[in-house]
């Protein structure tokens, strides 16, 4: 039996990411993993909500947050989620070049988000002396938002790695699940950000 699962338009199954048992396992396993990640973020959210008013005399959320930057970040990340959907659409149509193109745009948007976040953090640290160590609120804020940022960073490295690795050989049944699980991961990060936007920034500004 041949191990070359390269696809051509004639033999391509409908859902290349789930065409093999390994692919199916990876797909299901990754969903479970995201279930666990949900609990992880839920715990961080719980911690944040408990400690968000424990400023120990330092700046409060209302004084710190500016919604303009956060709005831009939200747009960046939400559209990157959309572009990764396009990429998966092209994967299912076996159009490798367009998939890579959209994944590339996803990466650029992701880096844009990350840059904004780094700017935001340095701004808080230098302008307000609001750090990870300054109060329980600071610890909880940087832990929650930082964990999310860490996930974005990991996701971007992962994306770049599989894009470069597969740049020359195109799509096959072995790497399709890898691209697909990445897109699941990216959507998850996006959903978490929506909650961060609501719970941390909107509630911090209004509540």
């Amino acid at each position: 039996m041949s191990h070359d699962h390269s696809l051509n338009p004639e033999t391509m199954p409908n859902e290349p990411e789930k065409a093999t048992l390994e692919g199916k396992n990876k797909f299901l396993g990754f969903w479970f993993f995201l279930g666990g990640e949900t609990v992880l973020f839920a715990c961080l959210f719980g911690t944040y909500i408990t400690l968000r008013n424990s400023t120990a005399g330092g700046p409060t959320s209302n004084e710190l947050f500016g919604l303009e930057l956060v709005f831009i970040m939200t747009i960046l990340l939400l559209s990157s989620s959309l572009t990764s959907v396009y990429a998966m659409y092209h994967m299912k149509n076996n159009d490798f070049k367009k998939m890579q193109l959209w994944l590339g745009i996803t990466a650029i948007l992701g880096f844009g988000f990350l840059a904004c976040e780094i700017y935001e953090f340095t701004h808080y640290i230098h302008e307000y002396e609001f750090t990870f160590r300054s109060s329980a609120f600071g610890s909880a804020f940087y832990a929650l938002v930082g964990f999310h940022g860490g996930h974005v960073t990991f996701g971007l490295s992962w994306l770049i790695a599989i894009m470069i690795r597969n740049a020359k050989r195109g799509l096959n049944l072995y790497n399709a699940p890898k691209f697909y699980t990445f897109s699941l991961y990216w959507h998850f990060i996006d959903v978490v950000w929506v909650f961060i936007f609501t719970v941390v920034y909107l509630m911090g500004k209004v509540g």
Binding site: M1, F32, G35, L51, A56, A136, A143, Y174
Partner: protein, 617 residues
């Protein structure tokens, strides 16, 4: 058969085989040896604790060392002994019970084991590096934050690393059971041990992340100066208790449910009867798991959460008694009208029923809030959870080991020594822990280095210590039995117990691909069905064809080693700059291995059909 043809290999070859294996059966052996080693270590710590408490104001160990012992005893027994031993059984049995050739993620399976082992090693390195953690296995803040030295740091890193391994194992079993069942093996035909593994894995998936977060927060507070639990900066130490018990209570069910599964299989087999009320048993398992997530605050009745929260959690806790009771009665009904063979695996199941019923009773008693104001944090609670965890989990592990030993190693454990282990351990267990209920009510809080003279606590503690020696003797006999069996034990046939489920249809131990042809399952207890119809073996569901197998890999070992090294980096970067080399170096090894894993194609290999045909002869 494969073992008959196996050549004598050099020690190096065997070692390399085990270091790189992704075969679930070998990983089961690794879990058994790793978990067994830590079980003996935890037992040694328990003996030191009991010797210290043999008489009032004893000075066998110092106060600080005693606290290290009690912390390490709890942590070791829960995370490094009970869980891995259960994973040993799961790995050895679950793929066989569902007619699969391997687990869904063989690579992750191996990674899970090495993470557990290196996590356990990091934790125990603390003994030699300035002292073990001393804030209790629950590590309540702020005591754990202010605990001097690096002990608690080792706790944090060790559990974080081994916890990651556990999470992987959980996901692995979930996907294995969902995707890799043999044709005809519907959910409601799965043996109870597989069912409980499935439900336990769900619990692991949703409970362990809470511990992960808790450990991260503790790590940040201890090593990076954050203020989650620092009251002066607005922190709140109760957060830790919530996070810990949101994990910790499901953890109890993570341990006990697989034991329930073992007993269900063992009791059905040795009663020669189908499990009574199979459907009820499955739903009771699911219900216990579901309720298990809503009761964590019953560990916190005295924290001051208020009467409303306390009442809600009390009632939710009591509700768990209902599905547990259903299980007890179903086991009794399974034996009723059966033909009970009493041998060493069955003895553990029979010993379990009264022991666990007492543990369950006291469980309902501690759920009664106002009564718990007296029980909480006393020896009553110590007695309660040892009745549940020793009387339930350890008995279950030992029943499972005696039952599946032939399948795992191809030899049957010595029956006489098995019975001796049971009787000494069983008597010692009740002697040690029954009296502790009363010690608690007589005013002895748990985690007491000494109890004072003339407070009426002497006799009870003496009896308890005597019991502990009986238990230790039982364990030693078991170890002797295992060694004796490896050297001179009786060779096991494929089906030594007249079994009912798929694992007994293949060789003991099975070939590395388990099933030459995937079996066709026609109902619950598939082998029993075939036996009753006079066939005695399974109908294949597929023609003989080549078998796809995963490649061995050294990467899991290296990834775990990288985290092990990075762990030391995290711990020592507080004092020394050179530790950053360890931190970044270790992380580089791990992430590098992950990158290799992601980028290097690994398609596995195929066993050709003619080779399989040759082996048949």
């Amino acid at each position: 058969m494969s073992i008959a043809s196996a050549q004598k290999r050099s020690f190096g070859a065997v070692l390399w085989d085990y270091l790189t294996t992704v075969d679930h059966k070998k990983i089961a052996h690794l879990y058994l040896f790793g978990g067994g080693f830590f079980f003996l270590l935890g037992g040694l710590e328990a003996m030191a604790i009991r010797i210290q408490l043999i008489q009032p104001e004893n000075d066998f160990v110092s106060a600080g060392f005693y606290n290290e012992l009690l912390t390490m005893h709890g942590t070791t027994m829960i995370f490094l002994a009970a869980m891995p031993l259960i994973f040993a059984l799961m790995n050895a049995v679950v793929p066989l019970q569902i007619g699969a050739r391997d687990v869904a993620f063989p690579f992750l399976n191996s990674l899970g084991f090495w993470l557990f082992l290196f996590g356990g090693l990091i934790l125990n390195c603390s003994w030699f590096l300035g002292g073990a953690p001393d804030a209790g296995w629950t590590s309540y803040t702020p005591l754990s934050v202010t605990s001097p030295g690096h002990g608690v740091d080792f706790y944090v890193l060790g559990l974080q690393i081994s916890g990651a391994g556990t999470l992987m194992a959980g996901i692995n079993f979930l996907v294995t059971i969902i995707n890799m069942r043999a044709p005809g093996m519907t959910y409601m035909r799965m043996p109870l041990f597989t069912w409980t593994t499935f439900v336990t894995s769900t619990l692991i998936l949703f409970a362990f992340p809470a511990l992960t977060v808790g450990l991260f927060l503790l790590m940040f507070d201890r090593m990076f100066g954050s203020a989650f639990f620092d009251v002066t900066l607005g922190g709140n130490s109760i957060i830790w208790q919530h996070l810990f018990w949101i994990f910790g209570h499901p953890e109890v069910y993570i341990l006990i449910l697989p034991a329930f599964g073992v007993f269900s299989d063992v009791i059905a087999t040795f009663s020669k009867k189908r499990l009574f009320g199979y459907t009820a048993m499955v739903f009771a398992t699911i219900l216990i798991a579901f309720l298990g997530f809503m009761v964590w605050a019953h560990h916190m009745f005295t924290v001051g959460l208020g009467p409303v929260a306390n009442s809600i959690f009390a009632i939710a806790t009591m509700a768990i008694a209902v599905p547990t009771g259903i299980k007890i009665f179903n086991w009794l009904a399974t034996m009723w009208g059966g033909r009970i063979t009493i041998n060493s695996p069955m003895l553990w199941a029979l010993g379990f029923i009264p022991s666990f019923t007492i543990g369950g009773m006291t469980g309902v008693m501690v759920a009664s809030v106002v009564a718990d104001y007296q029980y909480h944090d006393t020896y009553f609670v110590v007695a309660h959870f040892h009745y549940v965890i020793v009387g339930g989990v350890v008995f279950g592990i030992l029943a499972g080991l005696h039952y599946w030993w032939p399948k795992m190693f191809g030899r049957i454990l010595h029956e006489g020594m098995g019975k001796l282990t049971f009787w000494t351990f069983f008597i010692g267990f009740h002697l040690t822990f029954f009296i502790q209920h009363f010690l608690g009510l007589m005013g002895m809080p748990r985690r007491y280095w000494v109890f004072l003279e003339d407070q009426g606590l002497d006799t009870g503690n003496l009896i308890s210590t005597i019991g502990a020696f009986f238990m230790a003797f039982g364990v030693i006999v078991f170890v002797v039995n295992a060694i004796y069996t490896a050297a001179k034990g009786e060779k096991a046939p494929d089906d030594p117990w007249d079994g009912r489920t798929l694992e007994w249809t293949i060789a003991s131990p099975p070939a590395h691909y388990n099933f030459k042809q995937t079996p066709l399952v026609r109902g619950l207890d598939p082998l029993w069905i075939e036996k009753m119809e006079g066939k005695g073996n399974m109908t294949p569901a597929e023609p003989l064809g080549e078998i796809h197998m995963p490649n061995s890999s050294f990467l899991p070992f290296m990834m775990s080693l990288g985290l092990f090294i990075a762990g030391f980096g995290f711990i020592y970067q507080v004092n020394y700059n050179w530790a950053y080399i360890l931190l970044f170096g270790g992380m580089a090894i791990t992430l590098g291995c992950m990158l290799i894993r992601s980028l290097k194609d690994d398609h596995g290999y195929h066993i050709p059909k003619d080779e399989l045909e040759r082996e048949a002869d």
